[in-house]
Symmetry: C2
Subunit: 273 residues, 2 copies
């Protein structure tokens, strides 16, 4: 192996204490990791390694994948342990068949305040603001769309789940590591905050007053989404500009991640025009 | 129980031969069911019971849910067996914890030919045409969007997975049972078929010649989507009008179900305007 690649540390024993944070990945998901998180798959791990916000603490690879990962390993900061194990050992460490064959342990960076993210936006900007999104697939899907349409930030209310949960990161294809993210305080007035920073709040709701297609995108747009069941809080809807996506017949509603894609596309193409 | 409700047949033994089709649901998913399929959850089972295309062969409910299901049971055709079991028995039958507490066994209706579905469309119409979509989540998500935006049909190429797979039906929130569906024959020329029926083919591709936002929706639009990796077949892209959704920076692509939602929204709102 060329000298610019990190030495790969072989692991033969699934109980080796050095790979303890990778043990029983799924069970750990359920209890949380206190500032640490797991990235899986080549694309997502690359996103972590390249992240300026989060720190890569170690990597764990199937030994058959080490050679193909050389370009990625070359980017790993000096001193970051890279472990490798036979597939069977890896599966026993993770607690399930780890087909992707690559995991990394990350340390969460300090999260900026929502106001700081808004203040840093340019004169044409779009941010996504989420209320009570508790499903990790939806969270991941929304981040993927936010990245695809160049959202400046995703801001979460206290009721949202963690975008750095393993599955959310994976569904986001790494976007959860990439898009600037902040979380509102429990008593923070989201609309007052947006107003203070010159953002117009556009609240998505099946009962919205105007249609999305007819909406001329604000230059600084904050796009507000609630969870699929309850939607956005009524108190918030009453104070914001509300927009609906007309639907056919009796069909009740779109998936919230899909909705975010539709809205971001409309806003991004309108802002670019 | 009022006389207009079917008699509910109690099941105490997980090995009772009457509920054999419900046994080990997940393993059965993998081998296919030869014209039969499983619907799960109240919304999806209601969709099956109300379907004019597919037939409900039986229902299996957690006994604690029977009372709440009375409105649905009243719609079940006379002679359709409705079984109930204690939650623990139900879990043993299904082979996993069946939180939704309601399953139904359906028999697939005869699928119309793609040409017949196209011929039945009105002067303003939109159909979705899929090539090589192999992921059941994506298939379900596309059907959900097709229903939400009133697509007249979804037409599948031979490389697509089955929309009546249990998970695809569930993700579609029952739309897979609702939206008219056809499958192309292996040697069928999709573009010639669309042309014959007066449909303009709009092929989605990251390298598309025009942007979606600038596309004036055809009155009879066929929206073509390929799978996330390979995309649409090159031979097809070369002959169709190709459209792209511009994306930010280095982010590579949208999820195909999200893409279908974005495109259907643009086409449906444009056709309605």
């Amino acid at each position: 192996m060329p000298p610019d690649l990190p030495a790969v540390i072989p692991i033969d024993d699934p109980d080796d204490p050095r790979i303890e944070p990778y043990r029983d990945v799924r069970e750990r998901d359920l209890v949380g990791r206190d500032g640490l998180f797991i990235a899986e798959g080549a694309v997502v791990v690359r996103g972590l390694v390249q992240s300026t916000r989060h720190r890569t603490l170690s990597l764990l690879l199937a030994d058959k994948r080490v050679a193909a990962m050389a370009p990625l390993l070359a980017q790993v900061p000096t001193g970051t342990p890279v472990y490798s194990a036979a597939q069977a050992v890896l599966d026993r460490i993770a607690g399930f068949p780890l087909h992707r064959g690559i995991l990394a342990l990350g340390a969460r960076g300090v999260q900026p305040a929502a106001g700081d993210l808004l203040a840093a936006c340019g004169p044409v900007a779009r941010v996504v603001m989420l209320f009570g999104i508790g499903n990790h697939d939806n969270m991941g899907g929304i981040f993927r769309n936010a990245a695809a349409f160049g959202a400046d930030a995703v801001i979460l209310d206290p009721g949202c789940c963690d975008p750095l949960y393993r599955k959310a990161i994976r569904v986001s294809v790494g976007a959860a590591l990439l898009v600037p993210t902040a979380r509102l305080a429990a008593d923070e007035d989201a609309l007052a905050l947006l107003d203070r920073h010159g953002f117009e709040a556009v609240a998505l709701s099946p009962g919205g007053a105007e249609t999305l297609a007819a909406l001329a995108p604000p230059r600084r747009a904050a796009l507000l989404f609630g969870s699929e069941g309850p939607g956005l809080p009524a108190a918030l809807l009453a104070r914001a500009r509300s927009v609906r996506i007309p639907m056919a017949g009796s069909f009740d509603s779109l998936n919230v991640a899909t909705t975010s894609g539709i809205v971001l596309h409309h806003i991004a193409s309108g802002q670019a025009a």
